[in-house]
């Protein structure tokens, strides 16, 4: 491939040809290139592509860590999985989490970015404050949230009682636990989305707003609808998909705060995978869960690239 294209390039672009060194140098450089990419290529094979193929292959076996041998069992893991109530609970909870956190974190991120950008004072202070949760170790902050949500001594119930509202045992109640985790997820993701939206807002040309105003779009809402929202299209798509992918991976808060409980009300896919694969060491079964998870994540990625292609045309 490269030899052929090299001669074509050389024929078409004489200036470049003149700069090309002798063939001997060229081939020595190719050797150098292989030496330079070998460590990366080898590690990619061993740590990324091999394991990816491995997890798919494992999902068709009954392998358990420490077992002397294993056999190919076809789709049996998937049959077990689809017959298992816990799997469906985990899938439903994961989807609920995604469906709550993505709109929450995207709308709040956009609203905050618009508010910050609509004035000039204290911009960087606000940006810093809203970005702080992104920086702070989630596990540490999850433990803080747990105490904030403490039924008796927590800040949240304290405030609710102060306002004369009923208090909840947020993380211990199967009706509220998943939503409490969603709230933590939104709190953590908002700042990240805000920064992406801010970057998108800065890149919208000022003339568009002036043109819209001349055309009669005088209210803030009209300017948002006619200029900001369409111009932010590609950024919004990106933010939605990346929030979706990250929400699908929810694990940290679940593992440290609820372990999937109470009565499986916060069981999510990666947590089920972790329990099966690394507590019960049912590697084959856990691999099948991983494959299901991968299908969802890759589908989201595909949607993104589809929409991104479309976005390129109208911007």
């Amino acid at each position: 491939m490269s030899d052929g294209s090299m001669t074509i390039d050389a024929a078409i672009v004489p200036a470049a040809a003149a700069r090309q060194t002798l063939p001997a140098h060229g081939s020595r450089r190719a050797y150098a290139a292989y030496a330079l990419v070998t460590p990366a290529a080898a590690l990619m094979l061993v740590m990324l592509l091999g394991p990816l193929a491995g997890v798919i292959a494992l999902s068709f076996t009954d392998y358990q860590l420490g077992a002397p041998h294993f056999s190919w069992i076809g789709l049996a893991n998937y049959q077990d999985l689809f017959a298992d109530k816990v799997f469906w609970t985990a899938l439903r909870n994961t989807l609920t989490y995604v469906v709550v956190v993505v709109p929450g974190a995207v709308v709040a991120g956009l609203a905050i970015a618009l508010l910050i950008q609509s004035g000039t004072s204290l911009r960087s202070l606000y940006r810093t404050i809203y970005f702080l949760p992104v920086m702070a170790t989630l596990i540490a902050m999850a433990v803080v949230w747990e105490f904030m949500l403490h039924p008796q001594f927590g800040l949240v119930n304290g405030l609710l009682r102060g306002a004369g509202l009923p208090a909840f045992a947020w993380l211990q109640d199967r009706n509220t636990a998943l939503y409490a985790l969603c709230a933590i997820g939104i709190w953590q993701a908002v700042g990240f989305n805000m920064v992406l939206f801010l970057a998108g807002l800065v890149s919208i040309p000022k003339q568009l707003y002036e043109a819209a105003e001349i055309d009669g779009a005088s209210s803030g809402w009209a300017r948002f609808r006619l200029v900001t929202w369409p111009m932010l299209g590609p950024v919004t798509t990106f933010v939605v998909v990346i929030s979706g992918i990250r929400s699908f991976q929810v694990f940290d808060t679940v593992h440290v705060l609820t372990k999937g409980g109470p009565s499986k009300s916060t069981e999510v896919l990666i947590h089920t995978m972790y329990t099966e694969g690394f507590e019960f060491f049912r590697s084959g079964y856990a691999a099948a869960i991983t494959v299901v998870f991968l299908v969802f994540v890759l589908a989201l990625t595909l949607i993104k690239s589809r929409l991104a292609d479309r976005g390129v045309h109208y911007t």
């Binding site: 330079l36 997890v55 970005f131 170790t137 433990v143 908002v190 940290d252 991968l294």
Partner: protein, 278 residues
């Protein structure tokens, strides 16, 4: 007159809304510092007060450091994140240079694999990588924490895009001076790429300092624990009894990154949102 009036009103409304939101964002941090400063009796009181009647921050910190070897865990965090970053650069930079500036058979295939690799979420490869480390007897070691992350396809992609913008003349001039291709990577490209490497470094260090999933899977030994694992164990061991020291420990764990962030916000925001340019 009425126009200026509505402008001020809007400015006030903007601040009111943003301050209300900021209060929610900061609430856990304030509650953490408040609780870490309270003695036990004030923590377990249904009456809400932010400022302790008696400050007990030092006692709580002392108890946190006594109950868990926090210094050791912080040191583990530093060792692991720095090792990962240094190895990622050593592996990614040469590959990125070759992909950006050299011609060789298989270049397009390799680059396509790099782009594909970016799509693979880290949880997807966890089981086989765990089995591999088990097979070679490396579980429960620094190597288990570091090795799987030495390859950063995202780092390769990022540096390759950056190197594309470095003029060929610079590379040719270095070749004229007799510098080898290997030397060009480290003596010409690396200095030119310092801003990109810094941004990637922040991205990498923050991600691995905060990572919980992988250390949880491969570690057993207490002395190897990384900061997030340390907090989780502290929380499990104390089982809802000593919130003051627990909040103090949480403070200690998030402090290094938060302080670094407050000093270099722009760079941190750039680094963390690197994924935004994909």
């Amino acid at each position: 007159m009425s126009r200026t009036h509505s402008v001020t009103l809007r400015a006030v409304l903007r601040h009111v809304l943003l301050i209300a939101g900021a209060a929610i964002m900061l609430a856990p941090f304030i509650w953490m510092i408040s609780t870490a400063s309270k003695p036990q009796t004030e923590v377990f009181s249904s009456e809400l007060h932010l400022i302790p009647y008696r400050f007990a921050l030092v006692e709580n910190l002392r108890e946190a450091f006594a109950k868990a070897n926090l210094l050791r865990f912080l040191l583990n965090g530093v060792i692991v994140t720095i090792s990962i970053f240094v190895l990622q650069v050593m592996v990614a930079l040469p590959a990125a240079y070759a992909l950006a500036k050299l011609r060789f058979v298989g270049r397009e295939t390799l680059f396509a694999l790099v782009l594909f690799g970016i799509l693979i979420p880290p949880q997807a490869t966890a089981i086989p990588v765990f089995l591999l480390l088990h097979k070679v007897g490396l579980l429960d070691s620094y190597a288990a924490l570091v090795l799987p992350f030495t390859i950063s396809v995202f780092g390769i992609f990022l540096m390759r895009q950056f190197f594309k913008t470095v003029p060929d003349d610079l590379v040719d001039a270095a070749r004229m001076d007799g510098i080898s291709e290997f030397g060009i990577v480290w003596r010409v490209m690396l200095p030119a790429a310092i801003p990109a490497v810094t941004a990637f470094g922040i991205f990498s260090v923050v991600a691995h300092w905060n990572d919980y999933f992988w250390p949880l899977i491969v570690l057993n030994s207490e002395q190897l624990r990384t900061p997030p694992l340390a907090v989780a164990h502290f929380r499990n061991n104390e089982a809802g009894t000593s919130y003051g020291p627990l909040m103090a420990a949480a403070m200690v764990i998030i402090a290094p990154l938060v302080i670094a962030f407050l000093f270099a916000q722009r760079r941190f925001i750039e680094g963390i949102t690197l994924t935004g340019i994909k």
